[in-house]
């Protein structure tokens, strides 16, 4: 890491506190805020709440100095490269406060990766004489932000880089970032719709709904929605990858569930399928990888099917026509397949239908015909009005971005921890982007980025985590007894308007809080064991601390089963 980020790796965490609340000796009290010029850009896919980051940053800048200036780049990263900026004013903001989408400024791709792109950004920041550049985006954008920070530091450019975690997939999630702006809204809209089809299924009692939902490679949206709506089944990509389930295994699993329900006279249900699942099913993943490899070799789309290995070719021919076409779509900028276009829910429902019909002919299934209706819930959630939680969270992150710049920090991401508690208990901070990066050894399964260089990786659903356990502890009840739950539409006033993501609330994530507590512990030991203390106290301290370091050495040894997080 040090080799890739010599200037920005190893920086400390930052906590922002009210002056009155400061009780640590290392604290720096910022009293002077020089007049600054800041740029802000939407990088990549729109996510509800993005506008409020701009609003929060604008308000914070103007509170400190009316002469501070905020520029928004028009057309996202392309605008950033082309120096297309507009000054953000109260007037510009007025109709975008608490509104969804990125239409105040627009957006293009989520890449600031090539040498040319980085050079263009540097030129823009110099031309506009920017003190700071705030990048609003998800996993790839924040990786790029880390690289920019390093390059700028090397080039002795005064512009400091700040990342803000905004992504509707919930995959930028680690010790420092509890959740992304937009995730709550996306899950609420999708849960509303999933609950609606649950109610619909239960009323008509004649269809299975196969619902595919957005969320890119990982299944956070599916997990949160499953907790909110409790549909009969969810197939998590992370489970499939860890158990190496094949298409046939999954088909059998769903068919068994359909059969078990039929035996209780139930011919309906709801099956939830994260769009990333296709990349977790080993054989489909291998096929996608071959296709991707052939594209890289310059093979044209019309010739790919003839150049596949015999094994992949056989699978390809097995797939229905629509699926073949979708598998052949050109990969996205992050090398992933075009997940939103691949109708896995349709394939699975057809495979289950075939399996059930087969069982029926063999006399093993004695129920009514299997009927499925497929749905893809994607773009209809992404442009939603943000939930109250996302509005607040985004606005606060905008404020924090201003404080990061005022502190002169470079290459940091704005963070709020303790999010599950009321806003007045939220803790504002910042973490160096490089602290969230790692180099992956394997690229298989969900939540993998490019190999080789350090990147922030999309964090997969933790199969040992509390949220997943909460769902799985009643897996049979949920499957058989229609324990559907209906959170209803997003509310802005009254009952339900303060609801937060369940996954956020059950998880025990206060990493930064504990880090701070540990620091306080260490300070306490230091102050209790000062020169002049008794021999006995010193001996006791030394013996205890040695045992602590021994334990930690064992836990952090490379062979340890504990992984990066």
């Amino acid at each position: 890491m040090k080799q890739y980020f010599p200037r920005t790796y190893g920086q400390p965490l930052a906590h922002f506190l009210r002056t009155a609340a400061i009780n640590v000796p290392e604290a720096r009290i910022i009293t002077e805020y020089p007049t600054i010029r800041v740029g802000i850009v939407f990088s990549g896919r729109q996510s509800p709440g993005g506008h409020n980051v701009v609003w929060g940053l604008y308000d914070a800048l103007k509170v400190h100095d009316r002469k501070n200036t905020l520029f928004g780049f028009v057309g996202g990263t392309e605008g950033l490269f082309a120096q297309k900026a507009m000054e953000i004013t109260e007037d510009v903001l007025s109709t975008y406060k608490n509104q969804g989408g990125y239409d105040m400024l627009g957006r293009t791709i989520d890449q600031i990766t090539t040498a040319e792109q980085v050079k263009a950004v540097l030129a823009t920041c110099v031309a506009l004489n920017l003190d700071g550049l705030v990048i609003i985006g998800g996993v790839p954008s924040n990786t790029d932000a880390a690289q920019l920070a390093e390059t700028f530091a090397e080039a002795k450019c005064k512009t400091k880089i700040v990342g803000v975690p905004v992504s509707s997939n919930g995959d930028l999630k680690n010790q420092f970032v509890e959740t992304d702006v937009g995730f709550d809204t996306i899950c609420k809209v999708n849960s509303q719709l999933i609950s609606n089809v649950c109610v619909d299924a239960m009323s008509a009692e004649k269809y299975y709904y196969f619902v595919r939902i957005m969320g890119r490679q990982v299944s956070h949206v599916a997990l949160e929605c499953a907790l909110q709506s409790r549909p009969n089944m969810v197939i998590f990509g992370e489970e499939v990858a860890s158990s190496k389930l094949t298409l046939l295994d999954i088909t059998k699993q769903i068919s068994n569930a359909v059969q078990a329900r039929a035996e209780q006279g139930k011919y309906y249900g709801v099956v939830l399928i994260p769009e990333g699942l296709v990349q977790s099913i080993p054989e489909l993943y291998a096929l996608l990888k071959e296709i991707n490899g052939l594209y890289k070799q310059g093979v044209s789309v019309d010739n790919i099917s003839t150049k596949l290995s015999p094994w992949a070719s056989a699978l390809f021919e097995f797939l229905p026509l629509y699926m073949r076409k979708e598998m052949l779509l050109f990969p996205e900028s992050d090398e992933a397949a075009q997940l939103s276009q691949i109708e896995l829910e349709k394939l699975l429902s057809q495979l289950v239908e075939t399996e059930i019909n087969k069982r029926m002919n063999e006399g093993r299934y004695k129920g009514r015909k299997f009927n499925a209706i497929c749905h893809f819930f994607g773009y209809q959630a992404r442009g939603s009005l943000p939930s109250k939680f996302d509005c607040d969270y985004a606005y606060v992150l905008g404020h924090i971005s201003c404080h990061i710049l005022a502190s002169g920090l470079n290459g940091y991401i704005a963070t709020v921890t303790n999010l599950k508690n009321p806003i007045n208990k939220w803790r504002c901070g910042a973490a160096p982007l490089t602290a969230m990066m790692s180099v992956k050894r394997s690229s298989h399964g969900p939540g993998t980025g490019p190999l080789g260089r350090p990147t922030i990786h999309p964090s997969p659903v933790d199969l040992k985590g509390k949220a997943y356990e909460l769902l799985r502890e009643d897996v049979l009840g949920i499957l058989m007894n229609d324990e559907y739950r209906n959170p209803g539409p997003i509310q802005f006033e009254g009952h339900g308007s303060d609801e937060k993501p369940m996954t956020l609330c059950v998880e025990d994530q206060d990493y930064m809080g504990r880090m701070k507590e540990l620091q306080e512990c260490i300070n306490k030991v230091k102050s209790m064991v000062k020169p002049g203390c008794s021999q006995a106290v010193l001996k006791a301290a030394l013996s205890s601390m040695t045992s602590v370091t021994d334990v930690l050495s064992i836990l952090t040894a490379p062979s340890s089963p504990q992984s990066y997080f």
Copy 2:
């Protein structure tokens, strides 16, 4: 009409008033409510608010007499035929108040049509000794209710039949019924999602969304959603039918719009397509009719394509594979095609893509490539929690059903008029079902039922109505300037929770109110021109009244351009 309904045609309208508010001589004051037994059934597709009709009826029955009993038929009409009933109690109701779906009782088909079915219902009503049967449903169910009422009267069965207008398509709409229970909710959920994709389109600036929405043969849902969200284009089936636009015409119309927007640098937009449109496009309608005819002759699905007329066969071969399969699906119970399954949005987006590519090759279109994403918004709205308006409206209709039965009326539909005003101004009434029936001469275009016998017809969007005009008066602004409107999700408290359908609020529908006013006018004339009045007054009255009847004779003559409504 008289011939088909000798016992139930020609009955008067009924108005329900508080005793204190009664000022008309004909009013009957009901003071005694005999103990009654009532059955209630969900007939056909679930619609948000259905449960509240049951709740309202239950409360009204129990308020008058704790010994009144309400039975719900389990499994909808099938349960009604099979005498599967459960007593509705406070306990049964408790978890279904203000909830969507029909899952408290379930539902099956919306048909009580065949002689056998009618006989079965009669047997059930006799077996359970019912004084009344309340049928919750849309256009077909209320037609069936009228038939049942006549048959029961003929059979001297004591059970009185009451219909309640519940249908998410908004197509049971006429002088007596201002809107259906569920329509408001369905439109709100769909508008929320359409607005979301509008915001999404405007943020990414690279896709056209082609959104097909439910609504059966007519376009009421599309009209309301278009007013709520103002997407760039809507193709109303009623317009297409009245102008006889072909598939090619519609393709050109959309392509022209795409081109005009491209000339302004806009490569995105939202096109709304009501699912019923396919039956309004003349050539597709003709093809569907041929297919339906062949099914009726007993031709199997595999042979239909070979038996088509040369013209229909050419069209069939022109259609993409998925569309052919969908056109061949077996017609629904009302002889309509399986509208929810026919992906017209996909076909139109592909035809537009082909057209734009052609123009590009010919140098007539000079913009970027046309990109479309298709969505079908259907089942995800139908199971929604009902809006406050639908909750209230349904509950009141339930109450009215009880009053209809207490008045001893048979073959009536429960009505509430003046809905656009606050609840304390709502007017409760009942209209004979036969007053809403007619015999159609032509079966072409949207909003047609079977020929020959009197039925209630789905009411099409009125192209001369105020709601349609309101949308069309700014058609160019909506198309070109992205005047998107975002109503947001359904709210249950605070701002927006009292919103009603726009189509309801702009239309001037108070037919029953005017009928009552006219009655009052006539009463006034009668009381002013009593024996003993002066010759001058009598002469003036006679001359004025003669002129009134003259005008009315002209207006109601058969050759008049004024049609049934």
